[in-house]
Symmetry: D2
Subunit: 343 residues, 4 copies
């Protein structure tokens, strides 16, 4: 049983994290903070939690947080980097669900996030929390940078190919589609039901913040620079990301199905579908799995990988809990056994 605090719990990753932590056998939730909502019972804002979580939001209090074993940040970008050094000094470990610690190069971070980094000295130490790549490092980490939603799906889909050097690294294409919850719970016209339902569009084609994050991960896996075109799209549903990935095969003779199955055989949360499969986002709705399939259409030299996650679970809160489990030596699937809701 560990003592856990959540800073910022009023967004969609926040409520999903609370849903998972409320059902986690090893977690004692000490505080859920929100300056704006201090005093409001959490279950008043999120009625699904009625009867499951009796805390009220509180203003962030250093003493309370400093007494935790672990603090999650489910905040906008730029908050965790301000508060993390003091928590580390108190011996608290940190998982940031925002982007503050995802990029190792502070200059790149500042370019994409438009503000100076408050603790660039921690970027080297922070561990990028994609367990399928960094499990050992996560287990020792003081600070875990929980990956972005698109980067989780795109990297997991590309990794088997890129790690083995099987595709031409200079022209990778990631065509990704996200449900609207990826845009968060803030009031904005673009995320209104009447704007975002019954419609489909690409956005941020010139450049999206997840581009450098994905590229950094793929370059680490490839051991060289990669060229990536990343096009995100908004799809009219609440949850789910579907990444459709394209690469040019260097050796069309490779057995792609076996490659993918072997890469992920030991992974509790990655599911490679039988050959010919087409994963649906709903097959992971509410669950921490990434399901994927690999195709070589018409026997050509283009490989197509299809990978789906729930952006709020494996793409955010679920992966954060998975990282917590690894950090504290719990079974990696603890609190994450929930089966996807279908239909």
């Amino acid at each position: 049983m560990i003592k856990v605090g959540v800073v910022g719990g009023t967004g969609y990753t926040g409520v999903e994290l609370l849903r998972l932590l409320a059902g986690h056998p090893q977690v004692e939730l000490r505080a859920v903070t929100s300056r704006g909502e201090a005093g409001t019972p959490v279950a008043e804002m999120f009625p699904n939690l009625r009867g499951h979580l009796d805390l009220a939001f509180t203003a962030p209090d250093p003493a309370t947080l400093g007494d935790c074993d672990l603090v999650f940040f489910a905040t906008p970008n730029g908050i965790a980097m301000e508060m993390t050094p003091a928590l580390l000094a108190d011996g608290v470990r940190v998982i940031d669900l925002a982007a503050d610690f995802r990029l190792r190069d502070p200059a790149v971070w500042e370019q994409w996030y438009g503000m100076p980094h408050a603790c660039p000295e921690l970027l080297e130490e922070a561990v990028y929390g994609l367990p399928e790549v960094n499990r050992a490092a996560v287990s020792e980490a003081r600070v875990v940078a929980n990956p972005g939603c698109y980067p989780t799906a795109v990297q997991l889909g590309f990794l088997p190919l890129v790690e083995q050097g099987l595709i031409a690294p200079e022209s990778l294409i990631a065509d990704a589609k996200s449900g609207v919850s990826g845009a968060g719970r803030k009031a904005s016209v673009g995320s209104l039901l009447c704007e975002a339902s019954e419609s489909f569009k690409a956005y941020a084609v010139p450049g999206h913040r997840h581009l450098p994050e994905i590229r950094q991960g793929l370059e680490r896996a490839a051991g060289r620079s990669v060229g990536l075109t990343f096009v995100p799209h908004l799809t009219p549903m609440i949850r789910g990301i579907h990444a459709t990935l394209y690469g040019r095969l260097r050796d069309p003779g490779v057995d792609l199905q076996s490659l993918f199955e072997a890469r992920y055989v030991a992974e509790p949360f990655v599911d490679v579908l039988p050959a010919g499969g087409h994963p649906e986002t709903r097959s992971v709705k509410g669950a921490n799995h990434c399901r994927m399939a690999v195709h070589r259409p018409q026997g050509g030299d283009t490989v197509v990988v299809l990978a789906v996650i729930d952006n709020l679970v494996k793409g955010a809160a679920g992966q954060a809990v998975q990282n917590m489990n690894i950090m504290f030596g719990f079974p990696e699937t603890a609190g994450l056994e929930g089966i996807a809701l279908l239909p």
Copy 2:
């Protein structure tokens, strides 16, 4: 640990029942039967179950089923009544999620369901599985008739008023709205996304099969006949029922909020919202709760009750598991602790 069989598992109540049973600590699932899909792995039809349920559908086999402690029927109407007598003879207990045992009067059943009843002699014995009314009888039952989805929401909403004789019984109105999963997983034009989304309609206004079931339940609670107008509607979403109930108060001075809170204070799955509340169906998506609120608009003599359930959980599979828990002495919430998915 009990041995459980599921007859008919290819519909939406079927997959939801399997999702709940796969995570239930006291259940050993022995067989999931489907004549049409015999041999197909269950998780091939329902990919959310990949990694959680390794059974394949089988043709119904009397020996296997007869060896179970409990058999659920998640079949179309008319199947359970054919197979139940033999199962009872083998000492197996039965929960029917269809309508075969819901009406006590075989003549009424035959009028509404359009076929003769195969075992009318069991109608008297069968227990109507609404735990909030019949918990004790359920615990002893050999055959439990799991209530319909609309009847669950409508009865739970009206019960505090009807049991106490607080509203005029001759003119109750139940205006109910259901998600499309209530229509089942069969291929039909009316349930296509392109027919049922971005639209709203009433249906079966002249008469719906749940009308006699609701009336029977309310009359039992009232101890007299009741007049009920029941208008079901189809709403463009997957899961959820919202019942809006209207009654004429006989004594406008009654404290409705206290009445409702007192009626359900000990119920693990009924949640009365604070005064002035408006329950949302999404607050119970995937969960076994019924949340409700009671209003007296403009201080008039019309009481309005708002009650929401997930039609596949408290309105079907979850309530069936709740009944199982009661029948076998498990904690009533076992396997039903899942928190609703929001958003």
Copy 3:
């Protein structure tokens, strides 16, 4: 050809009005005003209008508006009442799509809208623009109060019964369901896709601003006071209102179908379905029709009327154009011939 101005064109009733006016053969659109968006091309905000409307938003200019034959207000409540007196003085006629002129009693208006009325002396003169009731008065009006969306559906559904005194007036029930566009295009958390889709809820059960408007209309039709319980609900779709109306029949022998057909036989935009029908909101999506059906379930004394409209068309912009047609002697269906989009 008349000169038309639109004040406030950045909301959903605004864009719908512009869609209809852009295709109207008798309208020359002179100005679309918005302080906040002055300078923005209208078609940049609403890309469906690209190639159909070449105006940019402008700040409201008295000279330009004063030179129009007609000005529509598609503004928040409280704007039209400020600007209308000056327009009338310039000989401009006004149609207000907001609520400023809907209630005849300024005290009631102030109670429900929470501000003093700027020109109570006009409330008597203003004509409530429900053509099926007030066609002659509309044709002469200087100021037309375009009805609210719920009030249009509810009144049209009740009118044949109330005008003839066929139902008990003291206990009418209107259970109404609206798509989310009824909440407007302003950024608010409650209207986000992730909040409002895959869910259903009632709201404002204690009291909604459309209650006094509906009651006023029904009382005028009944020639006496009426008691009305009005419960609005939010349904997860963009457009459409479905009103389910309940009344107690005084004479169960009346031929309801003939009554309704006779009442609306000459109305170009009211369509009474054949007996037994269930209108769907999608059958009027984008069209100015109200379709309805009348039922007497189980032969009881409760009459059920089902009425559907597109809240943005017959419930707002389309009805406003219909009123314009009547005011200026155009064919009543001019510019409103568009067929509903199905699917």
Copy 4:
């Protein structure tokens, strides 16, 4: 005024075609045929047409059809090719909205459609009805093969690049997303609201029938063979296709924006957005436009084209009416002036 027949009008392209023809000033609709629905009023099946179309479905009658100037086939594949030769002999012109005349090579057709072609001799004569490529030939055609929905969006998006030889033709990628109406109005489990909403998936990745059609069109434009990877996806909405197209630029110095604007400057139904744009499918909902934008992300050598259409309009019925207009010398936009419905 021409006499028009529609064979097969019970699907979504059928009802959309009837919606457009009912409002077309030059069309007299003589017959809408359906063997299965003969006798049913069209407006009973499609209530949006109530008051706009008074025909009933009839069994196909050679005399009636043979007396028409034009017959549309809105039938499953394989019907038009059976009936067309007799109609041509009667002097009737034909527009087939199905695939019977889309591929010039009968062997390729038979491979992808799984049946022998009934009149291969007409494949040479039939004109592929993409007006932006074949306007002149369409005007003279006896038989027009109306393009598929995906092929319309993908070809229009690629044409400016492929015609000028600006991208490497051996590795084109078309990642396309369609609303569910593309699957038609037939009862099938996969198109149920509960299967297809709140989910996103790719399908037919190994090979889709629109692949050879697109390839044929692009090869004609390129004057050489092309390599194309085409991945269609199902997106949870009713109408709309979004094609995201990727190509490798041969000359990164080309001014893509000017190229696209120049290519389509004279096209009434192709709208190139300003530089940096992201077209939304809802901007063409119910309208015959294709809107598109072209990007070169991060200044790299990959060009990304975004193109949206309404699959039932520009992707089917609207394009068929556009072809009719061209064939009979009507204004090309006649009957197609409707503005997209937004929201």
